[in-house]
């Protein structure tokens, strides 16, 4: 068996005799192997994405957000009012933070988008009314100065902390600390600037992605007294008004195992206070793992079937070609038998050729598989253009567009091994039928 290399070399030589035929025969295996690698890469990407999100949002956190109810309902309820009232109330905050024992801390925030200015420079910012805990909870870091303190809350001071991009756009080369920013006709002294932070990914429909870099943070209490709950938006002759007390409450739960049961309690408690039940949503980061498993399953089923079908069809194609090859080379088989080849030698020869053929297909498939992230990117842009136009922002499309496949290193030898296995399985019959030929008949074959 020291001549394995030579055997492989000679097998390659026979295959190279029909380059096009060999190439076409390999295609099935190429796609099959590619699908196997892509399937595992997408599954891995989905679970990594979910884990990252869970880490960002905190595995022990539950996020309750206000959601603007669908228009039809809203107009029916508030027929006599221009003001749309919805969302979480301060009473909800009290309820949740005081009545549920597993809740360690609850952090409320209020968000409004407003124009902010410094001198002549103006930009639209997300004004976030928050508490000191907000900083750690969102993994924000300070670049300069301090964050909002409890004293600011108590005294309802007009201070603000700028996010990185806000500071850069409003102040450019100036040091913002000690200056003041004008928001809705009031001035707020800048006490700190946060460092730039990667935007958080959206979570399936109920929570859109948050970009932290265009924010201004002010104390929640200050926001309440200076701006109120009413947000009036006038533009081009129409105007809308919304009254929201809190946009979000982030609850930290005492123990990881308690998160899911506590989420159930929260949902029940809120059902009591929100009769319509459609103006808030409860997001449990841990449930993202379940979503990731769902994505994984979807892709496993789709790509798994593609892989299985390609591999089987590819295998049958290989078998077909090898049977044709055996017929075509009957005389060669006769010659080899006359020169001393045993049946086993003939089996080995044709099996080697099949394995080399399938293995080469496998190798190409592995190379293609390595480019999965690129291919996926291309698929994504095509899919976004043609399929998600109408249902844009649907849960699945959002998961899909946030997905970055990660090629699993172990999948490469695995997929290659599968291709070789296909070669063995589908090569055995043609190789054996070649070996069973009668040498005299084979020699006489034209």
């Amino acid at each position: 068996m020291s001549n394995i290399l030579r055997t492989v070399q000679l097998a390659l030589k026979s295959l190279m005799l029909h380059k096009l035929r060999s190439g076409l025969t390999m295609l099935g295996i190429v796609f099959g192997v590619f699908s196997v690698i892509a399937m595992l890469a997408i599954g891995e990407g989905a679970s990594q994405q979910a884990q990252k999100q869970v880490l960002q949002l905190g595995a022990t956190n539950i996020i309750v957000r206000s959601v603007k109810p669908p228009r039809e309902n809203a107009s029916a309820q508030n027929q006599n009012s221009f003001v749309l009232r919805y969302g979480l109330k301060r009473a909800d905050y009290d309820l949740l933070s005081r009545t549920i024992p597993t809740v360690l801390q609850a952090v409320p925030i209020r968000e409004i988008t407003k124009a902010c200015r410094y001198l002549h420079r103006e930009m639209n910012c997300r004004i976030v009314g928050c508490t000191p805990e907000y900083l750690d909870m969102n993994h924000l870091e300070l670049a300069q100065g301090r964050f909002i303190s409890d004293k600011d809350r108590r005294e309802k001071t007009n201070v603000c902390v700028l996010a990185a991009q806000t500071a850069e756009e409003l102040f450019q080369y100036q040091d913002p600390i000690g200056q003041s920013v004008k928001i809705a006709d009031r001035r707020y002294a800048v006490v700190g600037v946060t460092s730039a932070r990667e935007a958080s990914a959206a979570i399936g429909g109920s929570m859109s992605g948050q970009e932290y870099n265009k924010d201004i943070y002010i104390p929640l209490e200050t926001m309440r007294v200076r701006m109120g709950d009413l947000d009036i938006d006038r533009r081009q002759g129409s105007f809308s008004a919304e009254e929201v007390e809190l946009n979000q409450i982030t609850l930290t739960i005492s123990d990881v195992d308690q998160v899911v049961p506590t989420a159930g309690v929260i949902r029940e408690s809120l059902q009591g206070t929100h009769k319509s039940g459609n103006d808030y949503s409860v997001v449990v980061p841990q449930e993202l793992l379940k979503q990731a498993a769902q994505i994984r399953t979807i892709f496993n089923v789709v790509l798994g079937s593609i892989a299985a079908i390609s591999l089987i069809v590819g295998g049958i194609g290989i078998m077909n070609i090898m049977l044709a090859t055996v017929t075509e080379r009957t005389r060669e088989i006769g010659i080899r038998r006359a020169l001393g080849a045993k049946r086993q030698d003939i089996t080995t020869q044709f099996l080697t050729e099949t394995i080399v053929l399938a293995g080469s297909g496998g190798l190409i498939g592995v190379l293609l598989g390595l480019s999965t992230p690129l291919v996926f990117q291309g698929m994504k842009s095509v899919a976004e253009q043609f399929f998600f136009e109408s249902g844009g922002g649907s849960e699945f499309s959002e998961m899909f567009s946030n997905l970055n496949p990660q090629v699993v290193p172990a999948s490469l030898p695995l997929a290659f091994g599968i291709s070789v296995g296909i070669g063995v399985i589908f090569g055995l019959y043609p190789a054996r039928s070649a070996a069973q030929l009668d040498p005299i008949e084979a020699l006489r074959h034209e």
Partner: protein, 232 residues
Amino acid sequence: MSLAAQVIDLQKDYMLGAVPVQALRGVSIDFPRGDFVAIMGSSGSGKSTLLNLLGALDRPTRGKYIVGGRDVSSMTDDELSTIRNEKIGFIFQSYNLIPQYTVLENIEVPLHYRTGYPKIGDREQQRIRELAEMVGLGDRLDHRPFQLSGGQQQRVAIARSLVNDPEIILADEPTGNLDSKTEQEIMEMLLRLNREGRTIIMVTHEPAVARLAKRQIYMKDGVIAGEGVFPG
């Protein structure tokens, strides 16, 4: 004089459809070492059957075929392969080279099937080159069969038949597809091998070729009809 091979009362029956045919009906021949035998006969005389048996491609129905001191008639398929590989060198009418292989690779083929699959090393590569040069193809080592003339292809086949240093060389109408000039060259080569001590058994239709052998055997209806020096 020791025998290279010996057949004793060789018989071969086979079924042609439903009809049993006796292709060989008792043939006994001794082949001393260094012999050069031409087997002649019309088609259907049983000479092809005899050649297949001599080539260990088939087993006789009855009788014995002894080559290299061993009786082939009761061997397994694998043992027959080993005998073909070690004791017999084949030369065919239609050369039977492997089309995708070069001259060197074609000569190498029998080495792949040696018992125990020893490595084909430098010594073997050297021998392959020497054989190629001996048959006058030293300058065409990397040519493929379709790039060679019939005579050149047959030389490759002769080199290939010698690579395992066999007891007997079986030539099945080795000049049947060649013009007379090339025929002469090939026959000279066989005669030279015979002078060097090889045992050659050759099947041929042509009396002119048969005449060059040391002795001739005429087959008819599955038995030996005549034997002797031409024209017998």
